[in-house]
Symmetry: C2
Subunit: 490 residues, 2 copies
């Protein structure tokens, strides 16, 4: 038999350089062997087609897989990244397969074009590098601004900060600190005396009333606390005061809303499935803008809509807390196994939308933006308190005027240098200047990411395992509503 020779010839025919002659014509006798049979021809054709199909399929795979890499890595791909929930086995260590894009600011004043809405190009201007802060005029249309304000009004806005109650539990009491210990904590420069700014720095953290140097002097006088009248409290003078003496005094005298840390009303608008199309569009646009995985944006807090009346303000603060190993993030607490004494908002990004153009005041101030160094102590001095947005907005390094439809966004955390969230950015300090004329409407979209990747992954896995499909059928307890109830407290 000539089988092996024929096979060798047959092999020749399968090489990519296709020869168009039918195999029969090349052999001397067509009836000689099975190689010439119709069945042989069919076998060749079928194999050839299967082979070609496989090559095409593999080329598609190559293209598709490198395309995915592009999307998750490239800084230019808007809204890229694949969702990373529900993949790794529970209990085990999650392997991080997603990198968080961080947009490059290049330099202050740099403008880059971004594609957020079909058929429109937005300009994104770098306002500062510390914090990394951008401004996008026309991010929302006038109609969208109107819809958001109307939806918020329909839902109803509540006071952003309740009036302070007398006799509240104090952290100092809880921690069982002696007056000497408290004095020592307050006495930052350790000179044995409490300067006004030392009291002010600490009072900000503790309660909701905003102290100024003037009303601190008033309190001293009212309580006869500063016996020798030098504007300083020594340990002897401090010891004579009860721990809630200042607050008690102020409440007795009566506290106005303008004396609070925050004087505004706000509400939360759900942005998931079934929400008003404008709200879903905004969420989608934010995903494109920030270039973060959509899962992360989807699992973030609802949209917060805030209204400041004339005279309203929000003293300088940070939207997010510092990262310590023992600090838990509010949004991933659901998935945490441990209970923790410290809890903070973990908001990687703040997107702030101006829903109207304010007649007077109401700027967003960044007191220390792009300062060469950050010095906590230099923020509050006896004469000037840079955190006070009712008085000292003009001394802030950067102020953004509220213009209808404009969005600004900034990063509240630095990068960890490895594609995830790192330390808190101290420079992200900001506040709402007092509204001198008219009303100010803004909305906040916070994007929650836990600086601890494991906790974030565990949370995303947990949420992905909750029943999702019920949300179509009725107001069942799905992941989104569960989360909403958590966010409600914010």
């Amino acid at each position: 038999m000539t089988g092996s020779q024929d096979a060798a010839r047959a092999e020749e025919d399968t090489t990519p350089t296709l020869r168009l002659q039918p195999p029969c014509e090349r052999l001397s006798g067509c009836h000689k062997s099975g190689v010439c049979s119709r069945s042989y021809f069919w076998v060749v054709m079928v194999f050839f087609h299967v082979y070609i199909l496989n090559v095409i399929a593999l080329l598609f795979y190559v293209h598709y897989s490198s395309g995915q890499e592009d999307a998750s890595r490239s800084r230019d791909a808007p809204g890229g990244g694949r969702p990373d929930a529900a993949r790794p086995p529970s209990g085990a260590e999650f392997v991080r397969d997603v990198s968080l894009t961080r947009i490059d600011g290049i330099r202050v004043g740099h403008v880059q074009k971004v594609s957020l809405v079909k058929g429109k190009v937005h300009e994104m201007r770098t306002l500062s590098l510390k914090p990394l802060l951008f401004e996008i005029p026309g991010f929302l249309s006038d109609d969208e601004c109107r819809v958001v304000m109307q939806l918020a009004q329909l839902k109803g806005l509540m006071e952003s900060q309740l009036m302070v109650q007398d006799g509240q539990e104090e952290l100092a009491k809880e921690l069982n600190l002696s007056p000497e210990e408290i004095f020592n904590l307050l006495d930052i420069n350790q000179d044995g005396q409490l300067q006004l700014h030392e009291i002010l720095t600490h009072s900000r953290v503790r309660d909701g009333i905003w102290l100024t140097p003037e009303n601190l002097r008033e309190i001293y006088a009212g309580l006869n606390a500063d016996k020798n009248n030098d504007g300083l409290l020594n340990l002897k003078e401090f010891r004579l005061l009860s721990s809630d003496a200042f607050q008690h005094f102020l409440l007795q005298r009566g506290v106005k809303r303008s004396q609070l840390v925050r004087n505004s009303r706000h509400t939360w608008l759900y942005q998931g499935e079934g929400a008003h199309q404008v709200l879903q569009d905004i969420k989608e646009r934010v995903t494109r803008l920030t270039r973060l995985p959509s899962t992360i944006v989807d699992l973030s807090e609802p949209l917060q809509v805030v209204r400041y009346e004339e005279g309203g303000h929000y003293h300088a603060h940070r939207d997010s807390g510092p990262v310590y190993p023992e600090t838990a993030c509010t949004h991933t607490l659901l998935a945490a196994n441990t209970s923790t004494p410290f809890e903070t908002s973990c908001r990687y990004i703040t997107v702030l939308f101006y829903l109207n153009t304010v007649d007077g005041g109401g700027e967003t101030a960044f007191p220390v933006a792009d300062n060469r160094t950050y010095d906590e102590m230099s923020l509050i001095q006896n004469d000037v308190d840079l955190l006070d947005t009712r008085r000292n907005c003009d001394k802030s390094n950067l102020r953004v005027r509220p213009t209808k439809g404009t969005a600004v966004f900034w990063y509240n955390y630095l990068s960890d240098g490895k594609g995830w969230v790192g330390e808190q950015d101290e420079y992200s300090l900001h506040g709402g200047c007092v509204v001198t004329r008219g009303t100010k409407w803004v909305a906040n979209k916070w994007i929650n990411v836990d600086p601890d990747y494991q906790r974030q992954a565990r949370y995303q896995q947990l949420v992905s395992q909750l029943p999702q499909d019920e949300s179509d059928e009725g107001p069942a307890l799905n992941a989104e509503t569960q989360r909403s109830s958590v966010h409600q407290e914010l």
Copy 2:
């Protein structure tokens, strides 16, 4: 005949779920048709193997191509990136397939570990973000420092700046400007008078003698230029001076080396094939450090070794020029088709090595590092000149002390936001403070990149087409020596 049915069965056999029975056993009669023949079996086996080999080859391709993408994109891959010379057709537009890595500074004080030498981990600390500046202690070993200094001494060092000659051609003369036009150019604040700092700002650009406010006053007195003695020159007073009056006066009086912009000696050390192993190692290490394509580092200037004697200095300057469309880069000029009136060094990165620990002074000063804003005018004021490293180093924002073996490196250009070189970084201003005790030895490795990608690509293509292999045979004119002769002038 049953050909078509058999073919259908044969197709079944090629599906990935391999069945181990030989085809004959599945048919009732083995001698029935050609499907059972040895030739059929050979055909199946050959096709099957070709198919499997193709699948394997394609999988290799997938793996290999995504691996390459990793290397050129990942910020962590040291020395990654493929050389991009000699690929695109000449004359045509080059398509950019390489992204320049820019290391993330995160924040001032951030420390990242880097692997530069086998078996050793270096720490890289962020010193400033504007410019993006890092310090790596122990980058060079003591032996390497010694070898570099010895090689430089063997080659011989020349004065970094020649003494200024009287009667040099002046740009103003070349451009044929009238005294009125020059006056207008100098009068920055357009108040009709020339303040001292207005003269100083411009004299820096023009000639090699460093003017101080004091010797400017001396010149005024000597030339009787300032008739009304108010420290200002008005147009009438200015018109009475010849264009080289200041320089002429100073040269008549005698100029000391300490009055020059730069008071040091230097030489260049070739780092290509055949160079001392230490020099080649340093180049290789710089490639790993900067994570730039090795082609770019290979085609950069040789190593510059500089010696400052006691009293030596280098007033504040930038290593690289600003980017204008009509400005050509010195290193790509070879490949440029056009002649251009403006030419500048295009040094994307400066790597500065300290070869010894200086006994006193000699710090590298960055006067405006991390300033909130950059203001050219505030650099030189009538009383303090921040550019003067003989007097005002103590007023610089940042000073790096020279420590043997330490390397610092910074970017002289910003990113363009698309993976290539963008605008000049104004903050990259730096100088060498006066050496108050002992000698200071440093080396500079500049990495040349043309902000115009097309010019860079054309240059790389040209160099890759020059005969390379002759360099082994003798001192032929190869690319490297050609380039050296260009760099010699620097």
